[in-house]
Amino acid sequence: MPKVTIPVGPQHPALKEPINFMVSVDGETIVDADMNLAYSHRGIEKLAESKTYLQNIYLVERICGICSHTHTTCFVQGVEELMGIEVPERGLYIRTLVAELERIHSHLLWTGVAGHEIGFDTLFMYTWRDRELALDLLEMITGNRVNYGINTIGGVRRNIKAGMKDQILKHIGKLEERVQYYTDMATTESTVLLRAEGVGHLPENEARKFCAVGPTARASNIPTDVRKEDPYAAYEELDFELITSDSCDILGRLIVRMQEMVESCKMARQLIENLPSGPIRAPMSREVPAGEVVSRYEAPRGECLYYVKSNGTFYPERLKVRASTYANWPAVVYSLKGYYIADIPLIIAAIDPCMSCTSRVAILDTKDGNERKVLDMDYLRTYGIKWYKEHGRGVRRR
């Protein structure tokens, strides 16, 4: 039987952001896969070199819309270490609370997306509705729902007021209840099990080999979690369990994420109940002493790593960002092989992919095919306006 290569992406309904998989199939079975990343590379690492540390907080916050707190915390932690600032206890607790709420919202979002990928739109709608609870809490604490802007070098910007505690606890109680419902539902419903069980198998040794991180690794029975191994913020004082699953498939990743949400609820409760008093931020200067630092953070999707090199000025010399999805791609390519076309969306979605990049450059093949031109956004815009002025009527008439 002849092999056919199917392009999945860069535009495909299963993918929320552009990435391309060239999947070779034999009938309905996948024999090989190759991927092409960065259809929309924003050049943030380069941009960061021309911004001050304070401005960079807001830049890295916009790397990802879902784990925006991840990036700021990871960056800010590094800078604080360079500057030798001791963040007040209360600041760390608030930081951790926002991080855990973000984890809940991210995992609920993932559950919905996974449901959508297997045609279970009802699960998608319900989880996204209940995710609003977490978003409401985040809005109450930080002021915004997506880019919280709560971190700053030396602590956090917004305090938790006394009146908020009750509402946070109430919402967390509701969330716990819903999460429990989804866990029971998704892990017993036959149609979900049919799609998730045994699919996207990633054995432990392969997961180690491809350096998988986060829930993907934990579902392959690797007990790795930055919060445990390399505690930061207030995690050292929290009592929580490291969730692993030995099923190594998508069901395992589902269960790991579900139970992590339960743990996150538990942690949020501990944090709010033991919230220490005191200041929320330490004074900081704008200048950062020369040095280099590696900062790690457990994002909802896995380990996030920042490398900051400072040369003693207002601007960082190098800011390296390794977001968690990036580490999981080789594992995805591996786990695609041998499954069906129908499993592609779910296997890709199982690592909770986040491309988080946008491009400002388009390469144009002119008609003779020889000349290549870099078009910037302004050019494209004026070109579009011109085109519609010329063709506008004709288009409408047809």
Partner: protein
């Protein structure tokens, strides 16, 4: 493992009679928290022209320009605020030493005219003795 089929049925059936969760924006609007970071509001009379906001703004949305001295010796400034560039992080309000920048809850800022995104005002550094409002959060 226990297997059920159609275990979401009771939940789905129950929702037939429940009120929708959708908020019909723009007919219904959610209450925003007071911490929401929307369009900026300025108290020009408090501003000392230190330009910290301009320096700290990550998206170059703020410009403070020296316009020379007035007759009575006060320095005159021109403030230009580009709402289209602003990413509403609120860093300027936080950095501002004279507390002349306040964040409002206004978020419906779409305009069809590009010029309306630039808000300008001219003022001089005369500080009116006014009781300072205490910022809501530390």
């Amino acid at each position: 493992m226990v297997r059920t089929i159609g275990s979401m049925f009771p939940e789905a059936f129950r929702h037939l009679w429940k009120k929708r969760a959708t908020v019909l924006y723009p007919f219904e609007k959610l209450e925003l928290t007071y911490r929401y970071r929307g369009k900026l509001e300025f108290f020009d009379e408090r501003c000392k022209g230190c330009k910290v906001c301009e320096e700290d703004c990550p998206s170059f949305a703020m410009e403070i320009k020296d316009e020379g001295k007035e007759q009575d010796g006060k320095t005159k400034f021109r403030r230009i605020y580009h709402t289209d560039r602003c990413l509403f992080c609120g860093q300027c309000a936080e950095s501002c030493m004279s507390e002349s920048i306040i964040l409002t809850k206004e978020f419906e800022l779409a305009e069809s005219d590009k010029e309306k995104f630039t808000i300008e005002s001219t003022y001089s550094t005369e500080i009116i003795a006014k009781e300072r409002e205490v910022k809501e959060d530390g």
